[in-house]
Structure formats: structure tokens, C-alpha cells
Amino acid sequence: MQSINNWITRVNSNKRLVHRGRWINLTFTFGIDDHDFLIKINNGVITSIKKRTVLTQSGTFRIHGKSEAWEKHWLKIPPKDYHDIFAMLAKKIIVIDGNLIPLMQNLQYFKDIIISNGASDF
């Protein structure tokens, strides 16, 4: 896992990725174990990643998994079942809930910003 600043930099410096997300303006919740992070996106650019401190802070949708699972997802070559969030979903390794419409409208974008936190070139 990269530091939060590195994660933001990796996404925002990827011009093609930002372009694909140019219609996205929302905050989603990304969970690791007992910690939730609120990832705010403006026109495809991540403007902040902040730890959720009170439950009334919420994202449009939430993607949650255990730290061991995310660590495998973020390896250079992830093992099978951990190589893609939908592969993880198929094996019930992660949970997705909330309003899924913006997620589905931009699914590859969200997959790519999540895997950007790892060592893979995706």
C-alpha cells in the first residue's frame, strides 16, 4: 500500500485515468478492516482522502475489505481471486453497498483508482 499522498499523486498524475473520470463528482467510502476512508473526487481528480471519524460522514457507495485482502490486491502480480475487485466480490472477499449507479457507470475508473494504491501497473 502506498501512503495516502502517494495514492492521490498516482491517480491525479495519470491523465488518461483522470480524463475517463471527468464526469465524476462524488465521495465514496473505502474500508480497510475497521477504518473507513472518504475519497472525494472532483471531475476525475481525487481532491482528498480522509479518515471517517463520525458515522454521519458517508459516501455515495462503500467498498470494504480486510487489510490482508487489500494487501494481496495491491501486489505487483495479485494472486487469483484478489486481482480485481469484481473477482474479490465473486469470492465474497469484499463487500460493496450503497448507491451503485455511479460505480457501475464508471466501473473501470473506480477499479483503476483502487488498484493505483498498489504496485501493479494495471
Binding site: I77, P78, K80, D81, H83, D84, I85, F86, A87, L89, A90, K91, I101, M104, Q105, L107, Q108, K111, S120
Partner: protein, 285 residues
């Protein structure tokens, strides 16, 4: 410029019409090679371009007449007239009839049939019901039973782009080791599908085509069955392929490490090392 100056591929494409249940389907098919006919069936929501590497490989085509066709609604095969009046849903019955009508119209004798994903499912049906017609069946990413892990309605609704969601869904089924050019070529095919077609195919793949109650009836002495699945396939997983092989006595199952749900298009060089021995074995049957 003369033809000899052009670097043409070996593949030749042509159209033919078949009739199934009084409906006429205009079918596009590609072929290359001579010898034992090898009918190739593409995955749900894609088309016969997935097999271009095999069609262009002389090591295959020197012994096999490799034939790949687009199912109706896919690639360059039209849907039937009046398609706009009803929802597309691929049923087991329609799928089998299209394949058998195609084989008869193409006048192939004792062919091998190889299908991937939903094609890998239907060839198991054919191994049971058409064991005299087919020399052998090869199920790539094939199993007799699967469970849906997402809601098919996401694939066809006006507020989600069909091509992009289809590619984003199936990208989870491609191995991270697969060459990036072939990954994106495989995804491109998904981006080009007609509205609701992938969803209609998955009706067969996830629901109507379930076969685990009859797969044990296949007699592999009459029609040999080969199953090959990629390690990273999160749809037809290696575990599901192995479970299917256990139910089909005498079948031969192989798990291909480092590839996913589309071995022939996402990593053709790796796939060749696994499919070549199978085709060699079948050629000697």
C-alpha cells in the same frame, strides 16, 4: 498493386444463411486450414475474432480446418428480422439448434467442437446429445453449473453504457499476467456488443444452460471431453471445472496457470502450449 504484394492473413470470411424454427439467420464465418474440421464458439457477448490467433497459426491449420462463426446478434451475424420486437434471450434449445444448423449448412464431417465460456457449456450438452456427430468436444472455461455473482440488469439500462460496463465486468476475468495488448483487444470486443446481447447470452450461461444433473450421462468413449480453464477465471473457476470433470467420467481437465477466462485471445502464446497437445491427441483418435 497485385495480391502477392499484400500481406494478407490466411483467414477467409464468408456469409451463409441458416434457418432455425422458421427464422432465417445470416451468419458470418471465418476459416483457415485443411483437415479435421474444428468449430470454434466464442464467449457470451463477444464474437469469433477471439479465435484469430488459432486461425492464423499454421501449426494448427496444417492439420485442422479451423472454423469460427459469429452467433446471431454477435459480430457480423445479424439478428433475425423482427429482433426489435422482442427481448433477446439465448436458450439452450436455440443455441444447440443454431450450432447444429450451422454445422449441417457448412457440411462439416465429424468435426471437433471447441467453445469458450457459454460455448464451453453448450459443448457439454452436445457431447451428450450429438456424440455420434462430433469427434470430440473441448470446453474452454466450461462447467456444467455456475452461480451468478452480479445482477444482469446492470448490463442493459439507459443510465449505464453497455459496452463500457461489459468490458469492466469481464476485465475481472483476465489474468494480470496476460499481455496488455491482448487484454485490451479482448475487452474491445465486449465494448462493441449490441444492447442487451451479453445479458441475453448470460441467461443461457447462468440459468437456462445448467447441466449438472445430466453431465454424468456423457459417454466419453463415444465423444471424448476435454476441459481447460484458466487459473484466474473468477466466473468459471478452476474449482468448478474440476467439479464438472469429476462428474464426467473419462473427461480430461487441465488448469492453465497464469491466464483467465479468455485463454485463446488474452494470452494466445500460452494457450497454444496447452491446446496443441489436446488437438494432437484428438487427431489420432
Amino acid at each position: 498493386m497485385k495480391n502477392k504484394d499484400v500481406n494478407f492473413e490466411d483467414i477467409l470470411g464468408r456469409y451463409l444463411s441458416i434457418t432455425v424454427d422458421d427464422e432465417v439467420f445470416r451468419i458470418y464465418a471465418e476459416e483457415a486450414g485443411e483437415g479435421i474440421p474444428l468449430i470454434c464458439l466464442h464467449t457470451a457477448g463477444s464474437d469469433s475474432r477471439q479465435f484469430r490467433h488459432m486461425l492464423n497459426d499454421k501449426e494448427f491449420t496444417k492439420k485442422y480446418r479451423v472454423i469460427a462463426f459469429d452467433l446471431p446478434w454477435h459480430g457480423k451475424s445479424n439478428p433475425p428480422e423482427g429482433y426489435h420486437l422482442k427481448e433477446y434471450k439465448l436458450t439452450t434449445d436455440l443455441y444447440k439448434k443454431i450450432i447444429m444448423s450451422f454445422c449441417k449448412a457448412y457440411k462439416v464431417d465429424n468435426p471437433v467442437i471447441m467453445g469458450c465460456s457459454m460455448g464451453g457449456r453448450v459443448v457439454l450438452h452436445l457431447a451428450l446429445e450429438q456424440s455420434k456427430f462430433f469427434r470430440a468436444v473441448i470446453a474452454l472455461e466450461g462447467s456444467d453449473k455456475l452461480e451468478a455473482y452480479y445482477d444482469l440488469d446492470w448490463l442493459h439500462r439507459p443510465d449505464v453504457h453497455g459496452g463500457e460496463i461489459q468490458a469492466a465486468f469481464v476485465s475481472s476475468q483476465i489474468a494480470p499476467q496476460s499481455p496488455v495488448n491482448y487484454r485490451h483487444e479482448t475487452l474491445w470486443h465486449y465494448m462493441q456488443g449490441g444492447p442487451g446481447v451479453f445479458k441475453g447470452d448470460l441467461y443461457f450461461y447462468w440459468h437456462d444452460g445448467d447441466f449438472e444433473d445430466r453431465s454424468s450421462l456423457i459417454d466419453t468413449n463415444l465423444c471424448p471431453v476435454y476441459l481447460l480453464s484458466g487459473e484466474y477465471d473468477c466466473s468459471c473457476t478452476p474449482e468448478r471445472t474440476k467439479a464438472t470433470a469429476q462428474r464426467i467420467k473419462g473427461s480430461k481437465a487441465t488448469i492453465i496457470p497464469g491466464t483467465g477466462h479468455f485463454p485463446m485471445s488474452e494470452n494466445p502464446e500460452l494457450f497454444k502450449t496447452y491446446i496443441q497437445p489436446v488437438l494432437e491427441e484428438i487427431s489420432k483418435l
